[in-house]
Symmetry: C2
Subunit: 260 residues, 2 copies
């Protein structure tokens, strides 16, 4: 519930994480949260606002369908397209914008009401470095074996202890997660890894991508990925893939907050 005297909005936002310290406010740089809250405060003439997100992203990670809640004083009266366009205006010149806005249903919370999150990890797989989108891909020169990656991914889907793919800094109570899908596709020079789960551990998608890459390059067999999972030991899995290849693509709720 929003605080007394506040109303809650659901926002769908998009951002380029390049040069930002991630979603969460930090003292060492500009965060998506700070940029969004400052824009929202300007929209309500400087009054205080509060936000919470469906999922935190790390420095350099992008989002194309992040969902955020924004609590603003209830005396402010906006139509949804005014919130969307007004916020997007005040968000300039930052590479953060609001794609959709809707009044939140009673009891709705951006994080606690969410039932799934989806991420896409994008690899540019060719000898030549990327020049059209270097901040949005992981560049891997060696040709990736997609069939082997898929065989490895199949061993990771489902309800498992993902300790081997969890950042040491992860604050979740449990390392157990249910990975609903981990799909690997090739489109020309691009290889994408699409992951969906109710929730993810810290760095989980980047750690999965880092290990899948070892399988794709032939350094690991698919079975070794299964063994890495079973070991429940971060040191038994592959490296953390770089943030720039990662994009949060969507968040799901029992009822779409933006439908109507």
């Amino acid at each position: 519930m929003p605080p007394e005297g506040y109303v809650r909005w659901a926002l769908k936002i998009e951002y380029d994480g390049t040069g930002l310290v991630g979603w969460q406010r930090q003292i060492n740089g500009l965060s998506v949260q700070q940029v969004l809250e400052e824009a929202a405060s300007r929209m309500v003439s400087g009054r205080p606002v509060a936000t919470a997100t469906a999922g935190r992203t790390d420095a350099g990670v992008h989002a194309a369908g992040m969902v955020v809640q924004l609590d603003v004083p209830e005396e402010t009266r906006f139509a949804p397209h005014h919130v969307r366009d007004g916020l997007s205006y005040h968000l300039k010149p930052h590479r953060v914008a609001v794609i959709a806005a809707a009044p939140a249903a009673p009891g709705w919370h951006a994080r606690f009401s969410a039932i799934w999150r989806s991420y896409r990890y994008t690899i540019l797989n060719r000898p030549t470095r990327p020049v059209l989108n270097p901040e949005h891909v992981w560049h891997i020169r060696r040709p990736l074996d997609i069939a082997a990656m898929r065989a490895g991914a199949a061993l990771l889907v489902g309800h498992h202890d993902f300790s081997s793919f969890r950042a040491v800094s992860c604050q979740a109570n449990s390392p157990i997660r249910t990975l609903d899908c981990l799909d690997i596709q090739r489109q020309g020079e691009y290889v994408t890894i699409d992951a969906r789960a109710r929730s993810f551990l810290h760095h989980q998608v980047r750690n999965l991508a880092g290990s899948l890459q070892l399988v794709g390059c032939g350094q690991w067999t698919p079975e070794r990925l299964g063994a890495a999972l079973a070991a429940r030991d971060r040191s038994k899995a592959g490296p953390t893939a770089p943030p720039e290849g990662l994009c949060l693509t969507g968040v799901g709720y029992p009822t779409d907050p933006f439908a109507s």
Copy 2:
């Protein structure tokens, strides 16, 4: 033919046109040609080199599959991957890179041997401004009617006098061109216009996109696009679409210079 004492390479290059003055050397800024020739000259220890392209692009226009010829002194001996990787290395930090390199067949010329060029024009069609790729799309807020755009495009395909879609600065001898295809697709918030022809007039694709947009927004009927073509008068067609949405996607030859 390359000059006496030189050998010719075929290069497939990719570049982000943002901040560059286009393909051709200019005194008022950095061009793709200058960047490429300086990198090539460094690769051959400062000896002179020469380039020619399959198609000139304007300032801000991108390329994903441009083909260029590079003449270097014949005493330089490189394997194809050394040309590709060496040039891409010397091209740093510019957003220009070589995807493929191959020794040119006798008599091959990047421009005169080409039998088609293809371009993609990309529109982001949604209320909110682009933040993930603002230098690679034209942002149009009003929902575009794809069926109407396709009906209009169908009137433009074929062998026509394209004077209405030709820049006043165009230096071609004839305004007659054969437009092989002009395909319009929607993928979510993106609308793409794919054009292919043996050759194009100056600004032709951007002028076609600018008029198709009027049809898509409902300001013009598809038939008006046909009338604009028939008028053979630049003032009867729509505006020139901005350069950032345009990308040269490929160049075709009777035999693929990079096959093998």
